[in-house]
Amino acid sequence: MRKMLLAALSRVLQGPAAAGRTASRVMVASRNYGDFASEASFEIKKCDLHRLEEGPSTTAVMTREEGLHYYKTMQTIRRMELKSDQLYKQKIIRGFCHLYDGQEACCVGIEAAIKPTDHVITAYRAHGFTFTRGVPVREILAELTGRKGGCAKGKGGSMHMYTKNFYGGNGIVGAQVPLGAGIALACKYFGKNEVCLALYGDGAANQGQIFETYNMAALWKLPCIFICENNRYGMGTSVERAAASTDYYKRGYFIPGLRVDGMDILCVREAVKFAADYCRAGKGPLVMELQTYRYHGHSMSDPGISYRTREEIQEVRSKSDPITLLKDRMVNNNLASVEELKEIDVAVRKEIEEAAQFATTDPEPPLEELGNHIYFNEPPFEVRGPNQWIKYKSVC
């Protein structure tokens, strides 16, 4: 009797691998996840190439962990953006708010392909990147509501969020791209095998400084990946009406380019991995165009339907939503169950609610800090406020 029990116990402890089934772990819990595959491989769309002999692989392998992680991250960003929409309409968030929902596959795919030591700089539609680069949701929401718990101490707001190796969060359109090339130069100079990803939109692609940057990056073979997030509309102007050439991946002309389906996270991941390897090998910069879509208008003051039809938005939502695409892939390939993903949804919702609670109750930064951080390391000086009887101390 004891021998039988011992044998049964050892069988269980060895795990189902001993029983010859393909499962990655045993959970000593009420549900049995042992039925899932540990990974699956997917055929992804081939990228259009410019001046490249070969492109990224058309097969991507995704493990269960990766899939769950991507799903949770994308869902968190989606819910965070919807929460920001809600808070904005309640006037708890003021100022400007440019939402990223619909484009989650871009930032999550990018983060999946690079290392935390790589550098990212983007424009003002930055909440998603702020999250993937490591800032917790509560700090993002607190920054949106202008509280001192925010990632820029409440002084930046929606468009100016920063963290280690994430350089924002920039308001002036196109101005961040030359900065990205500079960061890439520093990467090359310090020799730590890092790359810089400089993102911009389809509207910004027509700015002069972008072309100046292409020239410098190619001339000096900087490890810079220029990524154009083409969501088809620059504020209210469709790409056809703004650009003589809508092949944004070819705009670098002498710089090789890739056009990628930005709604498929695996496409984005493989393309960025390819690009990062290319740059790390010292071959110079690359231009990448991510074809994506935003569900909201340009900002909270734009309903988003005066320059495009509701049908178009609905069509993208039903056919190409990045989260739904990932979910279908995982469920159909036995990487997760619908219930498990629903649980993740519930957990994410809870996390966002708590973060929103923090963001609404955290105190605002004290008025004494208003004049700080104008300069660096000067002895404290006085800054005049709107009239000469209001003075703020500037501590640098």
């Binding site: 707001g157 002036i172 910004a204 700015q207 400084q209 504020m235 102007t237 605002e364 009239n387 009887w389």
Partner: protein, 340 residues
């Protein structure tokens, strides 16, 4: 000339700084920092209509496009009416080859506008926010301002007018609130104009368009909807480089432009009521070239000067005005304006 940049210590209304001490966690900004004070309807320009600032700009552009067949209006998003509705209806009325959108490229917009102007057509360019004018700064300062001088009057881009929304709006933060007039004041060859109201805006904008020098016209964005006045429907001109004395007084001269004019008008009223101080209120209107005669004459009368503007203090245009007033003259030793 005894002039000083101080006046009414302790008597300035608390609303000037009341909005800077909010309760923690309280909702922000219950009211604007000023109340718009309309001017009475003018009788000398014909029939008037109630218009707010953006409607008066549309009316001015409408008049300009009607009168001058070479006039074109362009900028980002102007075709559908503009982000502040300043160009509503113009494309339908005048056609898509006269009212058209440009891509997102300020340096390109102004450079292109200079080209149109030099070739002989009237160019009315819009920069979407004054905060975005800096990529075009080189074109304005190095090309537009110096064209006539460097070509010995053979060429000029006097047909160029650049319009941009300007000034604080409450929620604009770093990049939708700037008042960059001081940067341009440092550049001979261009004119910089800032209206305080719809009535002023239409007349000044039409003068800028007709003026044979490149002009920058800053429109206080907070007044686009907030300022409503009776504005003549027909075109009319308000002369440039002439400051307007809104209220005569004997104790102190107060100078401002744009939205701040309404703030100091209120201050003048409160000073009169509470302190018995008689204030002379002047709207500068044109920043460059500015009306030194009116200001200096006024300060000679009152002996005190207070200048109020939204832009940062250091190097702001108030420093130019106060140093000129204290120096006692607006032109150089030979009595001539300074050269580029």
């Amino acid at each position: 000339m005894a002039a000083a940049g101080w006046a009414l210590r302790g008597a300035l209304p608390s609303r000037l700084w009341g909005r800077l001490s909010p309760l923690p966690g309280a909702p922000r900004r219950a009211a604007a920092h000023f109340a718009f004070q309309p001017d009475p309807a003018p009788s000398e320009y014909g029939q008037t209509q109630k218009m707010n600032l953006f409607q008066s700009i549309t009316s001015a552009l409408d008049n300009a496009l009607a009168k001058d067949p070479t006039a074109v209006v362009f900028g980002e998003d102007v075709a559908f009416g503009g982000v502040f509705r300043c160009t509503v209806g113009l494309r339908d009325k005048y056609g898509k080859d006269r009212v058209f959108n440009t891509p997102l490229c300020e340096q390109g917009i102004v450079g292109f506008g200079i080209g149109i102007a030099v070739a002989g057509a009237t160019a009315i360019a819009e920069i979407q926010f004054a905060d975005y004018i800096f990529p075009a700064f080189d074109q304005i300062v190095n090309e537009a301002a110096k064209y006539r001088y460097r070509s010995g009057d053979l060429f000029n881009c006097g047909n160029l007018t650049i319009r941009a929304p300007w000034g604080c709006v409450g929620h604009g933060a770093l990049y939708h609130s700037q008042s960059p007039e001081a940067f341009f004041a440092h550049c001979p060859g261009i004119k910089v104009v800032i209206p305080r109201s719809p009535l002023q805006a239409k007349g000044l904008l039409l003068s800028c368009i007709e003026d044979k020098n490149p002009c920058i016209f800053f429109e206080p964005k907070i007044l686009y909807r907030a300022a409503v006045e009776q504005v003549p429907v027909e075109p009319y001109n308000i002369p440039l480089s002439q400051a307007e004395v809104l209220q005569t007084g004997s104790d102190v001269t107060m100078v401002a432009w744009g939205t701040q004019v309404h703030v100091i008008k209120e201050v003048a009223t409160m000073a009169q009521e509470k302190l018995g101080v008689s204030c002379e209120v002047i709207d500068l209107r044109t920043i460059l070239p500015w009306d030194t005669e009116t200001i200096c004459k006024s300060v000679a009368k009152t002996g005190r000067l207070l200048i109020s503007h939204e832009a940062p203090l250091t190097g702001g245009f108030a420093s130019e005005i106060s140093s000129t007033v204290q120096r006692g003259r607006g032109k150089n030793e030979t009595g001539a304006w300074q050269f580029p």
